[in-house]
């Protein structure tokens, strides 16, 4: 095991944020869930108590008697924000004193650095290039992700769970977001720690040897089943992609239909909202990890091969 190198990578000033995220994301997820569960318990209490459950409102809001009904922004919100400001300032101070900007030598047009990596926040995008064609990975997918994030409020028919931490009332939304976010962070982590010279996969602790020679053949799915000529490759791919959409849509639907609560929400959702949600869930949340697995486990390069684009 090459701990020396792992340490070098982990301590690069460039990689500080992603290393921090390794710890911060689980921590804040835990913190959020702890609060959500406490609130869920309160809600359950409220719902169980007929005295308290007189109104619709009481059923759904985590609340305890004796709690102030209304709080002013000043000082209650602002003092928390002020505290946060102080802490962030302290962190930034310490950070800037202890770590200098990771400047490197002047760029040399005759020499491409290897591995040549994007800044950490773009590493997920760069990693996606392994799985999709550049214009899909670099243009279509990011656009879909952004639009998907923007669309969220408009496809949300759930009147509950806004303004406080809760899991029970927002399982689908929180779950979908967490899957997407975790995938994204995972891609960044792969890009940072697993990709060495030549963008070759190295497990943490393996030496990033520039001389590494690999034998790896990636094949298209149609080739695997013996379809080698156009247009059959394209047609076969389209069929597979269609099947995938159907299957993924079905699974998503099943997941939504698992709980009574979610079923009720679904009843409030219009068809358009539902379809839009399904589209983004399939193309962004399902397609990416499945293509990743197909590539890493089965060495499948493309599923659908057409003369114009490949998926």
């Amino acid at each position: 095991m090459d701990w020396h190198q792992l340490w070098t990578i982990a301590t690069l000033p460039d990689n500080i944020p992603i290393v921090a995220m390794l710890f911060l994301i689980p921590f804040f997820s835990w913190l959020g869930f702890r609060q959500a569960i406490a609130n869920d318990r309160l809600i359950a209490q409220l719902e169980a108590d007929p005295k308290l459950a007189k109104t619709h409102h009481r059923k759904t809001w985590p609340w305890q008697p004796n709690w102030t009904k209304e709080l002013h922004v000043w000082p209650y919100l602002l003092r928390i924000e002020f505290l946060a400001t102080l802490i962030v300032t302290i962190i930034l101070y310490v950070w800037s004193i202890t770590l200098n900007a990771p400047l490197e030598e002047p760029s040399n047009p005759n020499l491409t650095m290897n591995p040549s990596k994007a800044p950490w926040y773009f590493l997920g995008l760069q990693e996606m290039l392994v799985y999709f064609d550049p214009w899909i990975a670099g243009v279509v997918m990011p656009t879909l992700i952004l639009i998907g994030l923007m669309v969220f409020p408009y496809v949300d028919a759930n009147p509950l769970g806004s303004g406080y931490y809760t899991w029970k009332q927002r399982k689908i939304a929180i779950g979908a977001f967490l899957v997407g976010f975790a995938t994204w962070v995972l891609l960044i982590i792969i890009g940072t720690f697993m990709r060495g010279p030549g963008w070759v996969w190295f497990w943490p602790g393996q030496t990033w040897d520039h001389n590494t020679v690999l034998y790896e053949v990636n094949r298209d799915l149609p080739d695997l089943v013996g379809i080698t000529s156009q247009p059959w490759k394209g047609i076969f791919g389209a069929v597979v992609v269609g099947l995938f959409f159907a299957l993924a849509g079905f699974v998503t639907h099943k997941l939504i239909m698992r709980k009574e609560f979610d079923k009720k929400i679904l009843e409030r959702t219009t068809l358009l909202q539902y379809l839009i949600f399904q589209f983004f869930a399939i193309t962004v949340l399902w397609a990416l990890p499945i293509k990743l697995l197909a590539r890493q486990l089965f060495r499948i390069k493309y599923v659908m091969v057409t003369p114009w684009f490949n998926i």
Partner: protein
């Protein structure tokens, strides 16, 4: 948390102790206080970091001020004492007295003038305000006037005129002290103002005039102090202390805009430019504060103009830490050079220099690069440039020939009425031309192309003459070597000849067999004439004394000079020559190493044999005059590509030397039989290997003359990104700071043992060129080919320094060393000087010792007399035209100076050469004659020689007939002759320089001595009869017995002579230099045996007078004696010299001058006897001192 309008409905009190509101009820005081405190702490930390943490140089500066002040005080105290002592000395007192006297003398008048000037100043101050005010008003109005239309001008003119007439009341101080008020108009004011100022200027200049002696005396006084006091005066040190006490704490920065350079090195290295020499000890062990070790270098390369990091490397901008500043971190591409490689920095700008003065390590690196044959495989701009130029000119010729063909076809077409399309296509605007115009144009082009090819061919001839290879010509090995010796040599050259240039290629046994088979079968089937044995003892003497040791080394025992290896390392160690070589070949080689057995034609790409000549009905004769191929008329390579010069030995001497050399053996050679070398199949395999290993880089090999270099170009090697240096499997361990070979942790604390940087790469590669194959699975032909070169540690350092310095500089051309004129000539000349190892025999640079100087036999006084001359002032000494002639033929045998005829030994030695020349055609043909068919034994039997030596035809030949067959060795022009100093046993050999190199050398010597080119000889006045008589008497006087040491052409005399013949002077020397030389030779060439002090200075008449010659007509002669002597020397004729010799031998009394004849003979003899004994003493003292 719940701020919603519906939350109001949630008013419900729970009876049993409800939990308080988690937000409203919670106190944030503690986290706030803690955060606030932390923030304060962090801010304080950031201030600290800003002021101190990021500015470590401040601590250095504080430290420096303390240490430097205390050091200066110590020095001042010490210096004060020695200064007091100095001031107590008589000379100082005298000078000071003089100064004070002068001061006193000047004082009254100076005081007077000063008083007057004071008064003038007062009066000037009185009138100046009014005057200037008015003048300003007038000037402004005049400007208005000039920019006004003509109509309104008169009024302005009036106004100005009025202003000028306006009376002003001015209060003026009178001399006595009282004031008076005067009314003056502008004109009067102006007059007074000007006159006062004029008077003041006059008085001021008078003061300067009066105090001149005083100032001079002061200057003398200061100069005396400066000269006699080591270091600075107390006053100067005081100033330094003062400066240090006012030290300004800030970043000290050099900014060179031209080079985009910002160097802040001096923020910490504060002592670098101090005038004192500061050592680490002076600074209490702080190495950062020492002064620059080479102050002279700093004056040439002023840091204000060149900065620091240009030469030293490192990140001059960085100020945050030592590592950053020194650039010793991953991302700085130009880390500071380590001490041992510091001269790498010179090469960035001095990359075109072959020799950079003062950069000994770098020069050594460049030297090694050349003589070890690195250029055979690696291209490097400037090295082996003949080969590069040749190949490009051959390319050009090829193109021209193609063009020519096209035009020739067009001519044919036109002539034979086959159409004119081709011609019209070739000729610009051809469509509009008449047929005969076309024909004229096309045929003219053909001849133009021919002329250009001829021109290129002639340049090619010179280039081929200068083209050298590091290793011997392998085409001739059948004549030269023992066949069985070759495989063993290939296996381990170092074992046979330690220190040899031939590297070891890490060959497998089967590869060795294949290569030996190939080179043996590939060699030309030629044998050389069998030679009779010579006299080894005489050969040994010749080897010792001719100057062979300047380049070659040999076991000390072999030449009776004790233990160890003696001689230079420029060429081979000859200690075991007898075990490998064939005697007959060595004779021929020693006789004339440049002469090939068979010429090579680059245009035909084959060797031109006797057959080819025969077919054309020509004798097999090729030399400088017959250098064109008989087949296609193009230039051939007629020289062996060796730098070994021709020593112009007579054939018997050549045999003697060869006999001596061939006797040099460590043991009787016993080699395993090598029958495999005749295996044709092996040879085929060998041919491939020879190409793979690039043998043709250093050796001439038949069929591989046009092989390209196999190695990587090294010109920009030092600036190659580290990623491009292939550490192969050692990359990762090397990066980690482990020793990839042993796996041990490296001592990276001081950074010296780094593997993963340029220095580490070069050093390890040079130490073990195959190292980066470690752990690799490769078939032999894919392994690294660079052979083991056996370098000493300091050689590796030198080469590493050179390679580190081989960078693509980012500096602008204006900052780099791009000399013009004389300096350029010197720069270019060094390439030739080094190529032929001139410094093996001569001192070319002041302070540089030749190889011969370190040889034991040249250590004592007599030995020193025998050393080749110093060339440090050669350019000033000799006429460039003469020098060119001399370098072309150092025997000067083509110059028919009368001295030749008088020297029977010269004639005797030269004659066999002449005869050989006459019979040369027959002999050369015989020499290269093919051996009897089918014989392939390693040592050619005498019976193989086909041709019989020609019968001696002259009595002179008959005397040499004992050494028959002499003439077969070919022509030897100027045999056994030193052109200038035939008294020397060392001999200036013939180098066969091409005109290009001759010119470069002459330019070098002229440039090195700052001589103007072209040289126009000074016209000397002819001597009058009187002058002739006087000069003659000086020449023969016992005080300056010139002919005692200088050669005269009389062999009996010349055997003892230690200086050149005067007859050469006119053509050879420059009069101006000669005069300086006769007056003070010791100044020009310290240690020379030419006596100094022959003349004394007659200050009154600004001339030199000969010392110790009392002849009356000399005393009457009122011009410069030295000049007279020089003029006499430059106009001396052989007859005159004969006369002088005759008179010289009959004693001073018999001087031909009538006046001298009238002198008292007794007295003259007496003085001369006394003089000569004195002279003798001085002479021996001189030679002892050399």
């Amino acid at each position: 948390m719940a701020e919603n309008e519906v939350s109001e409905q949630l008013e419900k009190k729970v009876a049993d102790a409800p939990p308080p509101d988690p937000i409203a009820e919670r106190s944030f005081s503690l986290p706030l206080v803690i955060s606030a405190l932390l923030l304060v702490v962090v801010m304080v930390w950031s201030m600290y970091d800003e002021v101190i943490g990021q500015r470590p140089w401040k601590a250095y500066q504080k430290d420096f001020v303390a240490k430097y002040t205390s050091y200066l005080e110590k020095v001042q105290a010490k210096q004060g004492k020695s200064e007091r002592e100095l001031k107590a000395s008589a000379e100082y007192q005298e000078l000071e007295q003089k100064y004070q006297d002068e001061e006193a003398k000047a004082k009254p008048r100076v005081a007077e003038i000063n008083a007057r000037i004071q008064k003038i100043d007062v009066q000037l101050a009185d009138i100046t305000p009014q005057f200037q005010d008015t003048r300003a008003w007038i000037a402004a109005k005049t400007f208005n006037l000039e920019n006004t239309p003509e109509a309104s001008r008169p009024s302005l003119r009036n106004a100005i005129a009025n202003k000028k007439q306006e009376q002003n009341n001015v209060k003026i101080h009178r001399d006595a002290g009282q004031t008076e008020t005067k009314s003056m108009n502008f004109t009067e004011l102006e007059r007074m103002y000007n006159s006062l100022r004029d008077e003041k200027a006059l008085l001021s200049s008078e003061v300067v005039e009066i105090t001149k002696p005083q100032t001079e005396a002061k200057k003398k006084l200061d100069a005396y102090t400066q000269d006699n006091l080591t270091g600075l005066t107390t006053q100067q040190i005081g100033q330094l202390i003062d400066k240090t006490s006012k030290f300004e704490f800030k970043i000290k920065q050099i900014h060179v805009a031209e080079g985009n350079l910002v160097d802040r090195c001096e923020s910490c290295h504060l002592g670098i430019r101090e005038p004192l020499t500061i050592t680490k000890a002076n600074m209490k062990g702080e190495a950062a504060f020492v002064s620059h070790p080479d102050k002279e270098l700093m004056t040439i390369h002023d840091p204000e103009r060149f900065g620091c990091s240009t030469c030293h490397g490192g990140n001059g901008r960085a100020t945050v830490s030592v590592e950053k500043g020194h650039g010793r971190y991953e991302h700085w591409l130009w880390p500071m050079y380590y001490k041992e490689n510091v001269q790498a920095g010179c090469n960035q700008c001095h990359n075109r220099d072959r020799v950079t003065q003062g950069a000994t390590v770098l020069n050594e690196g460049k030297n090694l690069f050349n003589i070890r044959g690195c250029t055979g495989c690696h291209r490097y701009e400037g090295y082996d440039r003949e080969t590069d130029t040749l190949s490009s000119s051959r390319q050009q010729v090829k193109q021209l020939e193609m063009e020519k063909k096209e035009y020739q076809l067009a001519v044919e077409d036109l002539k034979q009425d086959r159409g004119e399309d081709r011609a019209r296509r070739l000729v610009p605007n051809g469509a509009n031309l008449e047929i005969n115009q076309l024909l004229a144009y096309v045929s003219q082009t053909v001849s133009t192309i021919d002329a250009r090819i001829d021109e290129l061919d002639r340049q090619a001839k010179y280039l081929m003459q200068d083209q050298k290879k590091v290793g011997p010509n392998l085409k001739e090995i059948k004549a030269k070597l023992r066949k069985e010796w070759i495989p063993g040599w290939l296996k381990d050259p170092q074992a046979f000849r330690p220190g040899t240039k031939m590297p070891s290629f890490r060959l497998e046994d089967d590869e060795i067999e294949a290569i030996s088979a190939f080179i043996w079968q590939d060699a030309l089937d030629v044998r050389v004439q069998t030679q009779a044995q010579g006299d080894a003892e005489h050969g040994k003497q010749l080897f010792k004394t001719l100057g062979c040791l300047a380049c070659h080394s040999i076991k000390g025992e072999a030449i009776g000079m004790g233990e160890g290896v003696i001689g230079g390392h420029f060429a081979a160690n000859l200690s075991r020559l007898g075990e490998k070589a064939n005697y007959d070949y060595i004779v021929r080689w020693v006789y004339n190493p440049r002469r090939r057995l068979v010429p090579y034609s680059p245009s035909l790409k084959r060797d031109i044999t006797a057959e080819d000549y025969k077919k054309k009905g020509l004798p097999f004769n090729f030399d400088e005059e017959h250098s064109k191929s008989p087949v296609d008329g193009r230039e051939m390579q007629i020289h062996n590509m060796t730098v070994m010069p021709n020593f112009r030995l007579s054939d018997s001497d050549a045999r003697d030397v060869a006999t001596f050399l061939i006797a040099q053996k460590k043991q009787e050679p016993k080699y395993p039989s090598a029958t495999f070398m005749d295996d044709k199949g092996l040879a085929e395999k060998g041919a491939k290997l020879v190409k793979t290993y690039g043998c043709a880089g250093c050796h001439e090999i038949r069929g591989l003359e046009d092989e390209q270099r196999i190695g990587t170009e090294l010109t920009p090697e030092g600036s190659k990104p580290i990623e491009r240096l292939d550490f192969a499997l050692l990359t990762e361990p090397a990066k980690k700071g482990e020793d990839p070979v042993t796996g041990e942790e490296m001592d990276s604390a001081n950074g010296r043992e780094n593997w993963y940087d340029h220095k580490g790469f070069f050093e390890n590669k040079l130490k073990n060129p195959g190292i980066y194959d470690k752990g690799k699975e490769k078939p032999p032909e894919e392994r690294l080919k660079m052979p083991n070169i056996y370098l000493e540690a300091q050689d590796i350092t030198a080469l590493t320094t050179f390679l580190l310095g081989s960078v693509e500089s980012s500096l602008p051309a204006s900052m780099r060393y791009n000399p013009t004129g004389q300096k350029k000539n010197v720069q270019d000349g060094w390439w030739v000087i080094q190529k032929y190892n001139c410094m093996g025999c001569h001192n070319v640079l002041v302070g540089q010792d030749s190889t011969l100087m370190s040889v034991a036999m040249y250590q004592d006084a007599d030995g020193k007399e025998q050393l080749p001359p110093r060339l440090t002032s050669e350019g000033a000494r000799v006429d460039p035209t003469w020098l060119m002639r001399f370098l072309k033929d150092p025997s000067l045998s083509s110059t028919n100076s009368p001295a030749d005829n008088k020297d029977p030994s010269v004639i005797k030695a030269a004659l066999p050469g002449v005869i050989a020349h006459l019979t040369g055609q027959a002999s050369t043909a015989a020499m290269a004659a093919k051996p009897a068919a089918g014989t392939k034994s390693a040592t050619p039997a005498p019976s193989m020689m086909a041709a019989k030596p020609p019968t001696p035809t002259s009595p002179m030949m008959a005397t040499a007939a004992a050494l028959d067959p002499s003439s077969l060795l070919g022509t030897q022009m100027g045999a056994n002759r030193n052109g200038v100093r035939s008294y020397l046993k060392t001999r200036m050999p013939t180098f066969n320089f091409s005109p290009n190199e001759l010119q470069a050398l002459v330019n070098f010597f002229m440039g090195a001595s700052a001589q103007q080119m072209p040289y126009i000889p000074e016209r000397l006045d002819p001597l009058t009869n009187d002058e002739q008589v006087i000069a003659r008497s000086i020449f023969t006087s016992q005080a300056a017995p010139c002919l005692k040491c200088h050669m005269t052409g009389d062999p009996a005399h010349d055997a003892k002579a230690t200086a050149p013949n005067f007859l050469l002077a006119r053509e050879r020397l420059k009069p101006a230099w000669t005069q300086r030389w006769v007056v003070g030779p010791e100044l020009i060439s310290p240690g020379t045996s030419m006596p100094s002090g022959l003349f004394e200075r007659d200050k009154e008449h600004e001339r030199w007078i000969i010392k110790g010659v009392n002849s009356p007509n000399i005393q009457v002669y009122d011009k410069d004696h030295a000049n007279l002597l020089v003029r006499y020397m430059f106009q001396i004729t052989p007859d005159e010299q004969k006369r002088l010799m005759a008179s010289g031998s009959s004693g001073a009394a018999a001087t031909p001058a009538p006046a001298a004849g009238g002198a008292k003979p007794g007295g003259a003899t007496k003085t001369s006897a006394a003089n000569s004994s004195r002279k003798g003493g001085r002479l021996s003292a001189m030679s002892g001192g050399r």
